[in-house]
């Protein structure tokens, strides 16, 4: 099933013709409207008229997350605020958050992206979509919400958490589609079983999952748990949100909406483009966005692009599932953060840097994060109550800095293993790659 067959099944030649026109338009628009691009392109001596072919995109400098942060809050917007009808924001990892602004047309387009994906999965106006992605500044909740409404499905905007309620509504509302992070989906299945329900009999037809690293084995477990196929959604706040790429029912890669995003894979060291089917860093360009066009954004997500025809009939290229990061960003419970943030929070409490280690695990299908801190003489107090207070203070500071609850454990000095070269700050036991 197609939502917009004319677009989704365009010939490659047509796609490329459309992309160069949209790219030229975007570069000119950004250069004229956004001081950041005007200044940067002038400094690099590259101008909108230099973009004559899609290959010419390589002449343009990259945009990084730091660039976006420096533009906080609204300096990347190409339009006046009265044309922006919605704002989303990343969780503010490492300093200032990244803000994303949408015009009415952008919201329409965003809905379009997900309407295409959901339609391919077989979702129609007859379906009930239970959306457990968080509603709020996070793009996950609203993106799926708009897409499902676009096709006329009934949306249950329950958001994350309240697991028993999730199960009750799955039963009572007869939800046919569940939108989850893979770990939360597995957790719901687990709790449902504890409550005496068989998740396989709950009548779910489709599961959409995203915003978390996953493996094929996890997908299999998710599918088996609910006896329904599970499809991946990729996206990022900077570019729009979920829906940049959506997996089709063939489960063999995620189709990138090439009429909205121009994808490249680069060597993250040299910045040079890599050929198709080669693994590297994904770089994305908004070629159809009014509020905040981002050109050559370095996602730091590692994947590859495949331009072969897909059995589903769609012609847009497919990206592989994200197999890693080019930086040390971690995603736990759907929240992205860097080990440096933990360090920053620790330093606020302890003043001098103690030896620490972050251990991430997934004991009952839910991510758990533990921070082990070696007790230094500065941290140590001859009083259990004070020690517990210090421990809780560290936990509070991290919650504040990173946005998730971390279990803090004080351990004996030298009990955390030292490596000869670089300190191993993070042990991820989730086995995701």
């Amino acid at each position: 099933m197609f939502w917009d067959k004319n677009t989704e099944c365009m010939e490659r030649e047509e796609i490329n013709e459309m992309q160069i026109i949209k790219l030229q338009k975007t570069v000119k628009y950004a250069f004229d409207k956004i001081p950041y691009y005007h200044k940067k392109y002038t400094e690099c001596e590259v101008f909108p008229e230099d973009i004559q072919s899609l290959q010419d995109i390589e002449k343009l400098p990259f945009t990084t997350k730091d660039d976006l942060r420096e533009s906080y809050p609204f300096n990347m917007f190409a339009v006046d605020l009265d044309e922006i009808i919605e704002i989303h924001s990343s969780s503010g990892t490492t300093g200032k958050p990244v803000v994303s602004g949408y015009t009415r047309k952008d919201i329409h387009n965003w809905s379009e992206l997900l309407a295409r994906g959901l339609t391919d999965w077989g979702i129609t106006s007859k379906d009930v979509v239970q959306n457990t992605h968080g509603y709020g500044l996070f793009t996950g909740g609203f993106g799926l919400h708009y897409g499902a409404q676009k096709i006329g499905a009934t949306v249950v905007p329950i958001s994350t958490g309240q697991t028993r309620r999730q199960i009750q509504l799955l039963n009572d509302f007869k939800s046919t589609c569940l939108i989850v992070t893979p770990s939360y989906g597995l957790y719901i299945a687990e709790v449902a079983k504890e409550e005496g329900f068989n998740p396989q009999d709950m009548g779910l037809r489709v599961i959409g999952f995203g915003s978390e690293p996953w493996t094929e084995e996890m997908r299999q477990r998710l599918q088996d748990s609910f006896n329904a196929p599970a499809y991946n959604i990729y996206g990022l706040t900077e570019m729009m949100g979920p829906g940049v790429a959506v997996e089709c029912h063939k489960q063999n890669g995620l189709h990138i909406a090439e009429d909205f995003f121009y994808p490249e894979i680069i060597d993250s060291e040299t910045g040079k483009q890599l050929p198709e089917n080669t693994t590297g860093e994904l770089v994305l360009t908004n070629i159809e966005r009014e509020g905040m066009p981002i050109i050559r954004f370095r996602t730091k997500d590692v994947t590859s692009l495949n331009y072969d025809s897909c059995e589903c009939g769609r012609t847009f290229c497919r990206m592989d599932r994200i197999t890693g990061r080019t930086d040390d960003m971690l995603k736990v419970k759907g929240v992205a953060f860097f080990p440096s943030q933990i360090e920053k929070a620790l330093l606020k409490v302890t003043e001098i840097e103690p030896h620490y280690q972050v251990i991430i695990s997934r004991p009952n299908n839910l991510d758990e994060i533990e921070l082990q801190v070696e007790s230094t003489p500065q941290l140590f107090s001859d009083d259990v109550t004070t020690l517990i207070k210090i421990r809780d203070k560290i936990s509070d500071y991290i919650k504040n800095e990173v946005g998730i609850k971390v279990k803090v454990t004080l351990v004996e000095p030298k009990s955390i293993k030292r490596s000869t070269a670089k300190a191993i700050r993070v042990i991820d036991k989730r086995n995701l790659h």
Binding site: P377, F380, E412
Partner: protein
């Protein structure tokens, strides 16, 4: 000198930790006079009064233990029912909240010995003296 040096050692609440630290002291010929343990599910504080606290401190630090030295005082009390209560009543009447308390009996006299510690130790000493409670000198404790 009535103030006694006490070693407070951070330990993870795991099998073998107490053994390790006591073993190190034993190997270095440090004799333990009194011992108290406070624990939570994850970690604990081991408090020791030893015959040679300076040496004990040095050895434990050399073995990478996190420790603090604090001060305590020792009082003698009658080794009879109600002996401990009589001291606690004095503290209670003076609104003193004890951080640490541990008691033991020994054979140098027919009395029991009680170790007490609060942040303002001088105040504690003053109150006890006002109530005619006899304090045991530190060198007596070290050489028990």
């Amino acid at each position: 000198m009535v103030k006694i040096k006490q070693l407070s050692i951070f330990l993870t609440n795991q099998k073998g930790r107490l053994y390790n630290v006591l073993n190190i002291l034993a190997e270095n010929n440090i004799n333990i006079r009194a011992l108290s343990l406070t624990d939570t599910s994850e970690f604990g504080i081991l408090r020791l009064i030893v015959d040679n606290p300076d040496k004990g401190e040095q050895i434990l630090e050399a073995n990478n233990y996190t420790l603090k030295t604090t001060q305590a005082i020792a009082v003698e009390l009658e080794d009879v029912p109600g002996g401990l209560v009589s001291i606690l009543k004095i503290l209670n009447d003076n609104e003193i909240n004890l951080n640490i308390l541990y008691a033991f009996t020994q054979d140098y006299s027919d009395k029991a010995i009680l170790f007490l510690s609060i942040p303002n130790l001088d105040f504690l000493i003053k109150i006890l003296k006002e109530n005619s409670i006899s304090l045991v000198a530190s060198n007596v404790i070290y050489n028990l």
